[in-house]
Amino acid sequence: MATVAVQTAERENYLNTEYGIRSWLLTTDHKRIALLYLLAITFFFFIGGFFALIIRLELLTPAGDLVQADTYNKMFTMHGQVMVFFFLIPAVPAVLGNFLIPIMIGAKDLAFPRINLFSWYLLMVGGVLMMYTILTGGVDTGWTFYTPLSTAFLNTHVVTAALAIFIAGFSSILTGLNFIVTVHRMRAPGMTWSRLPLFVWANYATSIIQVLGTPVLAISLMLVALDRVFHFGFFDPQRGGDPLLFQHLFWFYSHPAVYIMILPGMGVVSEIVTCFARKRIFGYKFMALALIAIAVLGFLVWAHHMFVAGISLYAGLAFSLLSYFVAVPSAIKVFNWTATMYKGSISYATPMLYAFGFIGLFTMGGLTGLFLAALGIDVHVTDTYFIIAHFHYIMVGGMVMAYLGGMHFWWPKISGRMYPEGWGKLAAMIIFVGFNLTFFPQFVLGYLGMPRRYWQYKPEFQVLNVLSTAGSTILAVGYLLPMAYFLWSMRYGKPAPDNPWNAAGLEWTTPSPPPTFNFEETPKVTWEAYNYDQIKEAPVE
């Protein structure tokens, strides 16, 4: 990173202001910390992706022939744990949010810069423990840690894995706290709540979930560890415990965690769609309210993961109904993004291709959620590949698309360099095709009845599994491409202008890359968000 800074050293900015490993590891600059997160989560993304490839290769044939059953179980467990806790949850908030939120609201930094650095170290401690777990034999509980399997029946590294996630959780809590205080206290003059970019609203809503939900995850993992090490028996029916109690605690966090993983992506897409359609966002207030509504309602639907788990009939009815309520604000968002494009001036730049992809795939992920919330159907398809396909459409089709879209959109600001546009478009399309080929067949597999987490399966499921595996190799190529050309662009990319997209938003009024304290003087905001009527249109490509 330091060598890159030399290349871009025309004027002083956050990259070239200081050099050396110390200046990075002890930095309190939110932009440098964002890059620290970027390095870490990119590493974890490829670790998690490697596990996914092993899973897909094993499933090429019905027999369990590539790896042992126990190895396979470890692969899907660690794929889930690494991707959820060490990639998806930190991805947009800790990288893009960290970098952008202070700049977007006209602040010099987050409210607690040193806590921000501490949060990164917490994620690193968790990450190192996770790597230790992986390298010393792994863990095979499933990412969900269901009891009593995890507490009494496995002899893998359950406690260290739980501890790793426990510690990483505090990173998430502190980041959320930091964002909430920053948005409340650090907005520049004139930056009212109704002028905040939706990206800030989205991260604010996410932060609320992180602060309120993550402690419950910490509690449930702590109970698993206590049960396992000291045999307290919280979840052991022989000693009066209840295995379902764990599922309630776990999903009380882990369902809202789904929204931790998708809301920031929604924020990214709102920024991209407005910029590349040159439009005010359609229905700003409804878009902001929908984000908050999802965050709040998201806390009331956890037991829809448990319709066949042994909860009462009436609990099932209540949680199904509430799940339909949380679907409404998601629908509002899709309609508003679409309406924003109406009569716009639409460019097909790479970030916009990702935004198209996001809207399409998130719509499919959301609509298949309607199937799952329907009790009668859920009984048949829960714990099958239908679920796997559904949540990958939300998390990979939605969140990873949004994350990559955002990375392309703000890369000029972050690195001071342009990425190669042609390669960008190619990668976006490869990812879209590879994604659909990987996960669409899994919907069919699920309705046919193929259970998830199966090392070997019935021969009639093979054709669809082969398709899925073929798709996953295409997807892998699609993910390696941006990695390669982003690195390439740091040295060889064209220097980026301050506002390459002629985009609205304070982050585009600062130099690329920004100086350490973001602005020469604190900006005064006199305009509404997405004032594309006042900004000169980007040149036709």
Binding site: D140, L317, G344, S347, I359, A374, V463
Partner: protein, 333 residues
Amino acid sequence: MFETFPLWPQRASSMAGNVDALFIFLLALCGFMCIAIFIMILVFAARYRRTKGREAEQIEGSNALELTWTGVPLLIFLGIFVWGAVIYFMERTPPDDSAEIYTVAKQWMWKFQHLEGQREINELHVPVGRDVKMIMTSQDVIHSFYVPAFRIKQDVLPGRYTVTWFRATKAGTYHLFCAEYCGTAHSGMIGEVVVMEPAQYEQWLSGGPAAPLAETGKQLFMSLGCSTCHRFDTQGRGPNLVGIYGKPAELEDGRTVIADDNYIRESILNPHAKIVAGFKPIMPVFQGLVSEEQLNALLAYIKSLSQPPQGTAGTRNTPSTSPSGQQQMIQVQ
């Protein structure tokens, strides 16, 4: 081709059609919505692509539109909820006169006990056209009883009974899967449900030499010493168990519980949890002393006590379990 590459699961229970109907409705509805949104995006992207000399037209939003696309989806969602809930209600409510089959799941096999005495592992024989209620528990971790062709799934938990039911509609052999991850050989915890025509099923039933499950339970009831206190008169130190099944029981602390499967289970394993009013907590704890299969036999025996004494052996799915039969017993008592 479709035998090796099916795109739709087999349909072999009375519930499958209901689930498929809603699924197809949702496919049509969501497919339509999906295509509508894709077309809008594609049309907007093509029609309003950036060209020289044309600028975007700024539109603030529209409250009328927002309310429309909040309200209309909500109403549709409520409709889907009700439809899904009706099916769930049927799935969760076994008919009163269902035949009962006891199931014990363990890492990594399925064990079945028929009331007639047959015992099976990873294979379940059932007749066409009869309602069958699965009373299930696990010896170790959580498993899940899943028969895709029946569209039913129910987690099987340690320490309690969970229930599901089905009425098979087509003879044949169908997959039985464990759907809840349960450790190393999770994907090997599979079996077959063999659905037979009633006549063949009768033949299959008569093939086994085994004693009826309730009879096994009766012998256990004697050998474990239950019968010394749980006498069939009012003189026992424990409650008389005739006719108690499915009835409310008044407890020492004033609460009332229904004496269902889970209550009887708890009262055997951990009798001091809920003491029936008027009795002392003197029963020994049987936790760890009886296996799940033995518990099932005891349960089957105690349930059979609700019926006329001669009916204990081998009755299956006869109307004698109806409330009127139980009332008669209470009068006798």
